[in-house]
């Protein structure tokens, strides 16, 4: 299994909520550099909490994987999500409001070591998400 295949499995696990699978794909000392990650526990447990917070907000969430490619120990993925805010997002101060969100994209860069994810960096269309949630960034 090459590094691109590992990331394919990672994105499939997030998409299908197969969180047990992630334990085999991430290094024990995995570190996320995504803004906001500093408020999460270290390792894959923190990333799982961010996933839980997304699923709590959007229980009907659907992920679409658009692109995965890599070179050496680095892999890039482009994923988007859609869903309905029936759970609320305390992070943005937005209560459950039934707002439909769609085509919210993010790009993640993965660094792997010995076939396991060691570090990630990501950017996400947060302003678009906030706007679709019905809370303009200025009034957040």
């Amino acid at each position: 299994m090459d590094n691109v295949d590992v990331v394919r499995k990672v994105e499939e696990a997030w998409r299908t909520h197969d969180l047990k699978m992630l334990d085999q794909l991430f290094a024990p000392d995995f570190r996320a550099h995504t803004p906001g990650s500093e408020s999460l526990p270290p390792g894959i447990e923190g990333a799982k909490m961010a996933h839980q917070s997304s699923m709590q907000a959007f229980p009907d969430r659907q992920n679409q994987v658009h692109d995965i490619f890599g070179e050496g120990d680095m892999v890039v993925s482009h994923v988007s999500m859609s869903g309905t805010n029936t759970g609320g997002l305390p992070w943005f101060g937005v209560p459950a409001n039934g707002a439909k969100i769609s085509d919210i994209n993010w790009i993640t860069i993965f660094r792997l070591e010995a076939g396991k994810v060691k570090e990630t960096w990501a950017t996400m269309e947060v302003p678009k998400l906030v706007e679709q949630l019905g809370a303009t960034p200025g009034g957040m």
Binding site: S39, L40, A47, A57, G70, M74, L89, I107, I109, T123
Partner: protein, 151 residues
């Protein structure tokens, strides 16, 4: 046909020439006439003319804008560039926003596709504009809960 290595060099050079040197002549030459921007900023168009206008406006609003490349990853005709963009908001972070005269830094990850001549034919990128707007004091920082994402 250009190789992934050549595309990687082109994308790295693009970041330096355009974002550090603000070289508009280089920009016009580096992107194809067929270029499509798949992720224009709000209010911006998506063709080559619109991209040139976008950069002209960006450099007027943030004259000291510069980029520091973190990672460059190439495969096939695609290249991803992860960089940190820093600059002083002297003319409004986005068109219509009031200038704050503060310095902000944000991460951006951009995926570009190259044609057989080594020119960029498409671009899809996401910049952490929310982080920049928080640093500029344009929007408040989140106070509670966990960020919702899969990464």
């Amino acid at each position: 046909m250009t190789t992934p290595e050549e595309n990687k060099r082109a994308a790295t050079e693009f970041t330096d020439k355009v974002f550090n040197q603000h070289d508009m002549g280089y920009l016009k030459d580096a992107i194809s006439d067929e270029f499509v921007d798949l992720s224009p900023w709000p209010g911006a168009g998506n063709d080559k003319t619109a991209v040139i206008q976008f950069f002209e406006g960006l450099f007027q609003r943030i004259p000291d804008l510069r980029a520091e490349v973190q990672h460059v990853i190439a495969s096939g005709n695609k290249v991803a560039v992860h960089a940190i963009y820093t600059g002083t908001d002297t003319g409004g972070f986005m068109p219509g926003m009031p200038p704050t005269n503060k310095v902000a830094s944000m991460a951006g990850i951009d995926i570009s596709e190259f044609d057989d001549e080594g020119k960029q034919v498409s671009h899809f990128g996401i910049q952490d504009t929310m982080a920049a707007m928080m640093q500029l004091g344009l929007i408040p920082t989140p106070e509670g809960g966990q960020p919702p994402h899969d990464h």
